[in-house]
C-alpha cells in the first residue's frame, strides 16, 4: 500500500431535491488504505454523498473519480464491480434469505455465470459456485458470525450488522463504505466493531465511515471530513478537526 495515494476523489458535488440543496459544492478525497470518516449533524448530506457515489441517483453537478476513473452515470451494480461496497444506515439485509445466502449475494460483483450457465448446470458454473461458497464462509467466519444457515431476519441487530458488513466484504472491495455502523450498538459492541474495522483496514481495504459516535470516529480514523447543511466545513486529521471553530459551532449549535 503506497502512502499518499488517493482512491476516491469527489469534486464539486451538487444535488438538489426539489427546492432543497442537499449537497452544495462538496469536494474531498479519500486516501488509499486509510480510514476516512465523514461526519456532520443530522441532515448534513452524508448519506446523500454515499448514494451519489454508489449511483443510487444521478448528481446535478460534479464528478466522482475512483482510482482515476469517473463513476458518473454508472449504475449501482457497476459501481460495486469497480470495487466499492457499502452498508446502509438502517440495516438492510435480505431478511428472508439465510446468512450464507446473504453473503453469497455479495459475491455477485466478482462472478460471472449467468442464466444459461445456471439453467444447464454447466461445469464452469458449478466451479464458480463452490468458490463463492468458500469465499462467503471465510468472510462469515472472519467476522465471527456463528449461525450461517439461519434466516438473516431472525438475527439480533448486531448480528444483522455483521451480516451486512460480511455481504459488503464478499464483493472483495477496495473501498468499503459504512453508513453509521455503530448506531444502536452498546459500548462493548462498538469497541468490537472498532477492532474489526481496524483489522479490515490492515488488510489494505480503504474505509469510508459515516458515524455519529465521536469516540469511534476520533479513535480509529486517519482523516475526517465534516459536512453541515450540504457544505463541507472542515477536512483534515482528527486532531485538527476537533479544534476547528466551524465544526464546534455546527455541533454545539452556537
Amino acid at each position: 500500500m503506497k502512502e499518499g495515494k488517493v482512491i476516491l476523489e469527489c469534486c464539486g458535488l451538487r444535488k438538489r431535491f426539489g427546492g432543497l440543496m442537499v449537497l452544495n459544492n462538496i469536494s474531498f478525497q479519500v486516501p488509499t488504505g486509510k480510514i476516512t470518516a465523514l461526519i456532520g449533524p443530522n441532515g448534513a448530506g452524508k448519506t446523500t454523498v454515499l448514494n451519489a457515489i454508489t449511483g443510487v441517483f444521478p448528481l446535478d453537478e460534479g464528478n466522482i473519480l475512483f482510482k482515476g476513473h469517473s463513476l458518473n452515470g454508472l449504475k449501482s451494480f457497476k459501481v460495486v464491480e469497480c470495487g466499492i461496497a457499502r452498508t446502509f444506515q438502517n440495516v438492510r439485509i435480505f431478511p428472508d434469505m439465510t446468512v450464507l445466502d446473504n453473503v453469497m449475494v455479495g459475491c455477485h460483483a466478482k462472478t460471472r455465470s449467468g442464466f444459461i450457465d445456471a439453467l444447464l448446470h454447466l461445469p464452469a458454473m458449478r466451479r464458480e459456485e463452490t468458490a463463492i461458497r468458500q469465499c462467503s464462509i471465510e468472510v462469515i467466519e472472519r467476522l465471527g458470525i456463528s449461525e450461517k444457515d439461519t434466516l438473516a431476519g431472525s438475527l439480533s441487530l448486531v448480528g444483522q450488522k455483521k451480516v451486512e458488513i460480511a455481504r459488503a466484504l464478499a464483493s472483495r472491495p477496495e473501498l468499503l463504505m459504512l453508513d453509521e455502523p455503530a448506531s444502536g450498538l452498546s459500548g462493548d459492541e462498538t469497541r468490537q466493531l472498532a477492532e474489526a474495522l481496524i483489522e479490515i483496514g490492515q488488510e489494505g481495504i480503504t474505509i469510508l465511515l459515516i458515524e455519529h459516535d465521536m469516540n469511534l470516529v476520533m479513535g480509529i480514523s486517519d482523516h475526517v471530513v465534516v459536512l453541515n447543511y450540504g457544505e463541507k466545513i472542515a477536512d483534515g486529521p482528527p486532531e485538527s478537526v476537533q479544534k476547528n471553530d466551524r465544526v464546534l459551532a455546527a455541533y454545539l449549535g452556537c
Partner: protein
C-alpha cells in the same frame, strides 16, 4: 376521404366515450392516492353500475332518478365491501399482493355477474329519447349530452370537494404523504374507506350513463377498466386533471382511430397508447416525475 364534418363527428363521439374513461380514470386515481394500489376491480364497478341499474329500473320498476341513485349506492356498497372485506383482512401488506387481490375480486365479480345477469349484452333506454339532435352539422345523441352534463357536474363537485371540504383536503394530504397525514391526526382508515366508496360510485355512474349507447355485458369490465387505466396513465397517474384530459384524449384517439384506420382494432388502440406512454413517458403528459424514495 374524411370531411371536416366527419372529423367533427368523431370528436363529439370521442368526447362522449372519453368522458366515461375520465370518470373511470378518476376512480383509479382516488384509490391509488389513498392506498398506493391499482384497483383492478375498477372496471367491474362500471359494469356493476349498469347491471344494477337494469335490475332496479327494468325489473323492479323504479323511476329513473331513484334507480340511478340506488344503483350508485349499491356499487359504492360493493366497493366498500371490497375494501372492508378482502383488502383490509389481507395478511400481507405487500402492494403487489393487494393488487392481485383486486384482480381476484374482479374475476369473482365477473363470475357472479355472469350467473345473475347472464352472458348476453343488456341495454338501458336512453334517459331522454333517442332522436339525434343536430349540432353544428353533426348528429348528437341526447344521451351524449347527458354524459357530458353528468361528467361535468361530477368533476365540478369533486373539484369543490377536494379544494374546500375537510374530508377532501384530508384525502389530498394522505395522497401527498400518508405518514405525515396520520401524524397530524387524519384517520387514514377513514380516508381509504371513503376513497373506495367514491371511486366505486364514480365507476358505477359511468356504467349507468354509457350503457344506453354501448350496451353492457358481464365481461365488459376488464376492457373498461383497462381503458380507464390507460387514460389515467396517459394523463399522469394520480392527478385528477390528468385523468380528465387523459380520458378525453383517449376517447377521441380511439374514435378517430376506429373511423380513420380500422374499426376492427378499435379496442387495441387504447392499449397501444398505454404501451406507448409507458415506453416513452411513464409519468404521463401531465403528471410530475416522482422523486424515488429510499
Amino acid at each position: 376521404m374524411t370531411t371536416p364534418a366527419q372529423l367533427w363527428q368523431f370528436l363529439l363521439s370521442g368526447l362522449t366515450t372519453g368522458s366515461i374513461y375520465a370518470l373511470i380514470a378518476i376512480g383509479f386515481s382516488v384509490i391509488h392516492n389513498a392506498t398506493g394500489i391499482v384497483n383492478f376491480a375498477q372496471g367491474e364497478f362500471v359494469m356493476l353500475g349498469a347491471m344494477t341499474m337494469i335490475t332496479f329500473s327494468r325489473d323492479l320498476g323504479l323511476p329513473m332518478p331513484a334507480a340511478f341513485a340506488a344503483s350508485v349506492l349499491a356499487v359504492a356498497a360493493i366497493g366498500i365491501g371490497l375494501e372492508r372485506g378482502p383488502l383490509r383482512n389481507a395478511r400481507s401488506r405487500v402492494v403487489l399482493i393487494l393488487v392481485m387481490i383486486t384482480v381476484g375480486a374482479s374475476i369473482f365479480i365477473r363470475g357472479v355477474s355472469m350467473i345473475i345477469w347472464g352472458k348476453m349484452p343488456l341495454s338501458l333506454p336512453p334517459f331522454s329519447g333517442d332522436t339525434p339532435i343536430s349540432f353544428l352539422s353533426a348528429a348528437v345523441m341526447p344521451q351524449s349530452l347527458w354524459i357530458f352534463g353528468i361528467t361535468l357536474c361530477a368533476v365540478i363537485i369533486l373539484h369543490y370537494f377536494f379544494k374546500h371540504t375537510m374530508l377532501g383536503k384530508a384525502m389530498r394530504a394522505v395522497a401527498a404523504n400518508r405518514r405525515a397525514a396520520r401524524l397530524s391526526g387524519i384517520s387514514v382508515d377513514r380516508i381509504v374507506f371513503f376513497s373506495f366508496a367514491l371511486s366505486s360510485a364514480l365507476g358505477g355512474m359511468a356504467g349507468i350513463i354509457i350503457t344506453p349507447i354501448t350496451t353492457m355485458s358481464y365481461d365488459a369490465g376488464v376492457m373498461l377498466g383497462l381503458k380507464g387505466f390507460s387514460a389515467a396513465v396517459l394523463g399522469g397517474y394520480g392527478s385528477m386533471a390528468g385523468a380528465i384530459i387523459g380520458g378525453l384524449t383517449l376517447g377521441v384517439l380511439e374514435t378517430a382511430g376506429a373511423g380513420l384506420l380500422s374499426s376492427h382494432y378499435k379496442d387495441a388502440i387504447a392499449f397501444l397508447v398505454l404501451l406507448f406512454v409507458l415506453f416513452f413517458r411513464p409519468a404521463g403528459f401531465f403528471g410530475m416525475t416522482k422523486v424515488q424514495r429510499l
